[in-house]
């Protein structure tokens, strides 16, 4: 179980605030509620919350501007609540610095899992050098990937992509983010390159590449890597 944290909840719908609050409080967290963006920044300065949960469709402004402003002086992770079929908004929020998103309607289980992942990552843990998922073990020091003990051969790009994903476990990574991390700025519009290399990684590291357990697709947005 996580240590209790202070969480800022910015959502204009009171009923949604109510159940999100109760779920978070059951986990032992302290929740600061805001119905609009205006008082939120004051809360950020006063209470120094460890996490913000932000609805993108607020009546008094663009949540994306809030994320940008927040990240000028704070490393606080932001979890965005948004509607389906607004992939553009999700990508903009993520590229502006949001860390994850939840599509409405969402279950308590999903919400708590995301919150846990974000809080865990926020604790400045020393960079891990060994990863294990499924039958796969990755040793970043020796640059060695094994599956069931057998060495898996990855091309340099595949390995770079795997590292980029391992650096953001549990977090949504937009196409743009991954393309920049692996190819630099040269292929920034070539989403299909990324898709092909993710598919290579799935072929090599997933039990059933068509129903992946670790290299997950966030349709229209990007990828998420789960241990």
């Amino acid at each position: 179980m996580n240590e209790p944290a202070v969480i800022l909840l910015i959502e204009d719908e009171i009923q949604i605030r109510r159940f999100v609050r109760s779920a978070l409080e059951d986990e032992g967290h302290q929740v600061l509620e805001c119905g609009t963006l205006k008082p939120s920044m004051a809360h950020v300065h006063a209470a120094k919350p460890q996490l913000a949960i932000l609805d993108l469709g607020l009546p008094d402004g663009d949540g994306i501007d809030f994320i940008r402003e927040l990240h000028t002086h704070s490393e606080m992770p932001v979890l965005v609540l948004s509607a389906r079929s607004s992939e553009g908004d999700k990508i903009r929020a993520l590229d502006a610095g949001a860390d994850d998103y939840l599509t409405k309607p969402f279950s308590i289980g999903e919400l708590l899992a995301r919150v846990r992942a974000l809080l865990r990552r926020n604790k400045a843990a020393p960079a891990e050098l060994m990863f294990r998922f499924g039958e796969v073990a990755v040793d970043l020091v020796q640059r060695l990937v094994t599956r069931n003990g057998d060495v898996v051969h990855l091309t340099p790009i595949e390995y770079r992509l795997l590292c980029a994903m391992l650096a953001n476990v549990g977090k949504v990574m937009t196409y743009r983010h991954l393309l920049r991390a692996v190819w630099g700025n040269s292929h920034i519009e070539s989403n299909h390159y990324l898709r092909i290399y993710v598919s290579h990684l799935r072929q090599k590291l997933e039990n059933d590449p068509t129903q992946p357990k670790h290299f997950l697709t966030e349709t229209g947005v990007g990828y998420r890597f789960n241990i």
Partner: protein, 500 residues
């Protein structure tokens, strides 16, 4: 504005006029012959010749000159009432009179024709000006076509037909004023294609086809029927016809841009309204749904007595189902309104299959999904979010309508220039009589079915697949199968990586 060209005096009448003038000069002089010197009498005759030349033209003036010399000699030169040999010297008088007659009549004719030309030119330019102002004020193609036609008819005496370009065809603006033959239509089309003036002689008909040059392309053709116009007039007025054509071209182009601007304006208002309504609707429905779902979920997680917990779980399921119905409805509304822009990208199809299976999660927990995909299946170009909706709807249907623990299969294969993707279950299948209808809006396989649904899911699938240029159909083959196709096209080339 009807113009009647000045009636030329007929030859006969001008000759009579000349004879009359000569007699008129002679008669009053007869009693005065004793008082006047023959030289002065000759001067009076010269005056008469001048007058005749001014008034009656060259022929009459020559006649008057000859007649006057004869009359002078006969009545006033000694011996009177005879033509004597010594009168030969009056040949000089005759020559002078003839010269005066010719010079004066020529000058007069020139001046007259210049004056006529000037009047005619002024008339033409006034007519052209009137046409220009009418065209500038025209608010429809019909109005401007009528103005052009009236101008040609009234001031040029010829028939005009205005044709405009519509999707690479030429159509008369006014249906009742059209070209008469295939040959004419072909010539008009050539004029448009080549952007050059074409002339056509057909029987006794003579047509000219003037292209209407717009800023980017030829916007139409002005056809003029010159059958009733003399060739000299046509030649003289080429510049005028070109001016008419360019005035008409400006008017057609102006009207075109007005129409485009209006259409865009209307479309924008329409689209703004529609997306505002859809956005408001989706927000206002989704917000309470999120709250209901979240609260039901909260309840279901609590330590409640079994019946209460079952209710909470049922509420959660129902909210989820309601949500998927709302999504379908909103998607359908967007697709029908044509306001959906496909965000097509090249991608492996297994990715969207995997994402759909993951997204459905709990709904598929009693139905293992088997994905069959040949190795090296090519990339396909589609909108991932919409294709996910198609696959989710199909998988959800398969799970809904087949008994638990029955596997569902997703199968992708190549068929010619298409990719074929099918989602099949081994359930009871579609009612055979409704196989063709299941994709229609609000159509359900079994209307009395206990399985919830309003018949939207498959209709959406069809709209999305067709928007991608594919086809979808249902079949019963060891259960229910829905197969859709996507065009293959040529995927982008992927640079291969230099392996270390």
């Amino acid at each position: 504005m009807t113009a009647i060209p000045p009636e030329p005096r007929s030859i006969n009448s001008s000759l009579i006029w000349a004879i009359a003038a000569c007699l008129l000069v002679t008669l009053p002089l007869l009693p005065l012959h004793n008082y006047l010197d023959p030289a002065n009498i000759a001067m009076l005759y010269l005056l008469a010749v001048t007058m005749v030349a001014v008034q009656a033209g060259k022929r009459a003036a020559i006649l008057a000159a000859c007649l006057n010399v004869v009359l002078l000699d006969f009545f006033f030169i000694q011996p009177r009432f005879s033509f004597a040999i010594g009168d030969v010297q009056y040949g000089v008088t005759l020559a002078v009179m003839l010269a005066v007659a010719l010079i004066i009549s020529k000058l007069t004719t020139g001046l007259q024709s210049q004056a006529t030309d000037a009047i005619e030119r002024e008339r033409q330019s006034r007519a052209l000006y009137e046409l220009a102002s009418k065209l500038a004020g025209a608010t429809s193609l019909e109005q401007m076509a009528a103005a052009t036609r009236n101008f040609l008819h009234r001031s040029q005496g010829c028939r005009g037909v205005l044709l405009v370009r519509r999707s690479d065809m030429l159509q008369p603006v006014e249906p009742e004023h059209h070209l008469d033959s295939e040959l004419q239509s072909a010539a008009a089309y050539t004029a448009m294609q080549l952007a050059q003036v074409r002339n056509l002689l057909e029987g006794n008909q003579y047509w000219m086809f003037l292209p209407l040059h717009g800023s980017t392309y030829v916007r139409g053709v002005l056809a003029i029927d010159f059958s009733a116009t003399p060739q000299a007039t046509i030649n003289a007025r080429q510049a005028l016809y070109a001016a008419v054509a360019s005035l008409a071209a400006i008017a057609v182009e102006r009207l075109h841009f007005v129409e485009v601007a209006q259409r865009v304006q209307l479309q924008m208002t329409d689209e703004r309204l529609r997306s505002a309504i859809l956005a408001a609707l989706s927000h206002d429905i989704r917000t309470p749904l999120t709250a209901i779902y979240g609260m039901a979920d909260t309840l279901a997680l609590m330590q409640l007595p079994q019946p209460a917990r079952d209710s909470a779980e049922a509420m959660r399921e129902q909210a989820l189902w309601l949500n998927s119905m709302v999504e379908n409805l909103l998607d359908m509304a967007k697709l029908n309104a044509g306001s959906i822009r496909l965000n097509q990208e090249w991608q492996p199809v297994e990715e969207v299959i995997g994402a759909s299976i993951k997204l459905l999660g709990a709904a598929l927990e009693h139905h293992p999904v088997k994905v069959m995909l040949p190795p090296d299946f090519p990339l396909l170009k589609f909108d991932a979010v919409l294709m996910e909706r198609v696959l989710c709807n199909l998988l959800e249907n398969a799970a809904k309508y087949s008994p638990p623990d029955i596997p569902v299969s997703v199968n992708a294969q190549l068929a010619g220039d298409k990719a074929k993707i099918s989602v099949c279950d081994s359930g009871p299948g579609f009612p055979p009589d409704k196989l063709d209808k299941v994709f229609e809006l609000f159509e359900r396989g079994d209307t009395e079915s206990s399985v919830p649904g309003v018949g939207l899911g498959l209709a959406i699938c069809r709209s999305i697949v067709e928007a991608h240029g594919g086809k979808i159909h249902a079949s019963n083959r060891d259960g229910a199968c829905v197969t859709f196709t996507l065009p293959l096209d040529t995927p982008p080339v992927i640079e291969t990586e230099d392996d270390e």
